[in-house]
């Protein structure tokens, strides 16, 4: 082992722990989940709709996109479209098959999303990178247009915007803020667990291998086409359920206009800021994207005593997000997640210099 031994790590070589997954113990995870459930019973109603529900749903959408982009390396701007598929499919299942239990309707909505994902993922078998991203725009423009254009999807409502049917499960009314929160949280917990299983298995490894070098992956025996389409399917399944929850548990209406290109960009920002290729990253990014605007509007209202109006604070928010995204893309592609890991390592070694 003399000849090929690695040189002593220099300062440019980071300790491997930096980018390793956060192996949070099962106890810590269970504690976190329990805390979120408990939170539902102590907070004021305002919290549900202003913070907790949108945070969880956007984190779920971020999780779905992260599987596709962060793990499998296929960039997409069709997130909003896949969310709209979930919302409209679930709406129609609730409307036309009212006897099905709510979770089944959500899963069916997700399956329609997966189907749309596979169809709009087909170009990934031939093109990559920027060109693929541009082709996912086709989904973004086509699907919401389709739902607007044909009245059948919205049960021929004249406004194109429909109020969601009542959410009932096992006789319990889930239309209250707490009910909607618990529905969202439970969906997020289950889907995150499934995503975690996937990315830590051989499937997740295959996706990352394709992301890092697809020719080498093929030579190593990894089925490229199957894995690319599977990543589109599973990612869109999760995103579609996020879309259904966005319509039913958050907005209370189903409207194609709430799933526009801006929505796709927001989800993309979540994973860029939070951390590409990490599950925690989707949650960190979502918390950031939901909380920072609230923070900015509070600060500008209280600190500057109305000197900054709402329009200005919205612009400030855009400037801040734009600057952060440029920063993260250049300096830290692994996002806030990597920054947190690094901070944790420094704290663990403190006061020694790391």
């Amino acid at each position: 082992m003399t000849a090929l031994a690695a040189p002593a790590p220099t300062q440019t070589v980071e300790h491997p722990d930096v980018l390793r997954r956060w192996r949070a113990g099962p106890l810590a995870i269970a504690g976190l989940v329990a805390a979120f459930y408990a939170l539902g019973f102590v907070v004021h109603d305002y919290w549900f709709n202003a913070i907790l529900i949108p945070f969880l749903i956007m984190a779920l959408a971020g999780l779905g996109l992260n599987l596709l982009t962060g793990y499998a390396g296929q960039a997409s701007l069709g997130t909003g479209a896949f969310m709209s598929v979930g919302a409209f499919a679930t709406y129609n299942v609730l409307l036309r098959l009212p006897d099905l239990p709510l979770p089944v309707s959500l899963v069916i909505g997700g399956l329609f999303g997966a189907l749309a994902g596979v169809i709009f993922g087909l170009p990934s078998l031939r093109i990559k990178g920027f060109y693929l991203t541009a082709s996912t725009l086709a989904a973004q423009f086509f699907l919401p247009w389709l739902f607007n254009q044909y009245g059948w999807f919205s049960n021929y409502t004249t406004s194109g915007s429909i109020s969601a049917p009542k959410l009932v499960f096992l006789g319990a009314d889930l239309s209250t803020p707490l009910g909607r929160y618990l529905l969202t949280l439970t969906s997020v917990v289950i889907l995150t667990w499934l995503a975690w299983n996937l990315v830590t298995s051989q499937v997740g490894r295959n996706w990352m291998a394709i992301r890092d070098m697809d020719t080498a992956a093929a030579v190593a025996g990894i089925p490229i086409a199957f894995n690319k389409l599977a990543s589109f399917a599973i990612s869109s399944f999760i995103i579609a359920i996020a879309g259904a929850l966005w319509a039913f548990a958050y907005l209370g209406t189903v409207d194609a206009r709430s799933f526009d290109l801006d929505r796709s960009f927001t989800v993309l920002f979540i994973i860029i800021i939070g951390g590409m290729g990490s599950i925690a990253g989707a949650f960190i990014g979502s918390a950031f994207v939901i909380l920072v605007p609230i923070l900015i509007s509070n600060v500008s209202a209280n600190l500057f005593a109305g000197a900054i109006d709402a329009g200005q604070s919205e612009n400030l928010q855009k400037i801040l997000f734009g600057a952060l995204i440029v920063y993260f893309l250049i300096k830290e592609p692994n996002g806030l997640y990597a920054l947190l890991l690094r901070a944790r390592r420094r704290l663990a070694l403190w006061p020694l210099k790391s």
Partner: protein, 256 residues
């Protein structure tokens, strides 16, 4: 000599009219180490790419383990048991050494996507089994100390070894090594040579390798094939090839 594991018959390859390989034929016997040598641009890497389906030949036949390879594709070649390393490392840069090696086991994977998603069925046992196989190969190539390192951060020589581990972990019958010792010093070459011999003897893996260092080639291989300008100009034992006047001419030039 035992019967041929791989037989190449009349293989030709051209890129937009430029001939890379012209009517190449030779056999690789089961269990041997076969070296492909020749000047730069002789078509050695192209030939490896034809064997595992990265390129498709214009003409010719490949037979592997008694079966004709009609439409070789990289993944099919891998499934049949043809492993491969590249001249310029083709590793999964952002994964750890362990994950890179584990990725090489996919051809042996049986558990389905749904089994993995719900952690049921064969998922857990396969994860455990793969982990054992990967650890064995990592130990065999003596890279345990780097198991959890991100490969992009490792020095070149170690990356070559990780790539060898990834190709080896699924126990291929035939291993194609494209310049496994490129850019290494004498000691490093000795060490890689030892690994290649160990793989060949202990694991009974047939090896086709491309190498420029004639000293290493003569010491390592049972069989040497010489290419020049896409044609085969020599084929035989190291001694025969060394004495072949065409080979000497290709390497040293001739008196005109």
């Amino acid at each position: 000599m035992s019967e041929a594991l791989l037989s190449i018959r009349d293989v030709s390859l051209s890129f937009k009219g430029i001939k890379a390989l012209t009517a190449i034929s030779f056999d690789v016997a089961d269990g041997e180490i076969c070296a492909l040598i020749g000047p730069n641009g002789a078509g050695k890497s192209s030939l490896l790419n034809v064997i595992n389906g990265v390129y498709r030949s214009d003409r010719g036949e490949l037979t592997f383990a008694g079966k004709a390879l009609r439409r070789p594709r990289p993944r099919l070649a891998a499934r049949l048991g043809i492993g491969r390393t590249f001249q310029n490392n083709a590793l999964f840069k952002r994964l750890t050494v362990l994950d890179n090696v584990l990725a090489g086991l996919t051809r042996k994977a049986r558990a389905s996507l749904l089994e993995h998603t719900f952690r049921v069925g064969r998922s857990a046992s396969e994860n455990r089994h793969f982990r054992e196989l990967a650890e064995d190969t990592i130990a065999f190539l003596e890279i345990e100390a780097y198991r959890d390192w991100i490969v992009g951060q490792l020095p070149y020589g170690l990356q070559k070894r990780v790539e060898l581990a990834r190709a080896l972990v699924s126990r291929p019958r035939l291993l194609l090594l494209d310049e496994p010792m490129a850019g290494m010093n004498h000691d490093e070459k000795q060490e890689i040579s030892r690994f290649i011999l160990d793989v060949n003897r202990d694991l009974k893996t047939t090896i086709v390798l491309i190498e420029h260092d004639i000293g290493v080639v003569m010491g390592l291989s049972d069989h040497v094939v010489v290419l020049d300008y896409g044609r085969k100009i020599g084929d035989g034992t190291p001694q025969e090839v060394r004495d072949n006047p065409d080979v000497i001419a290709a390497y040293l030039g001739t008196v005109h």
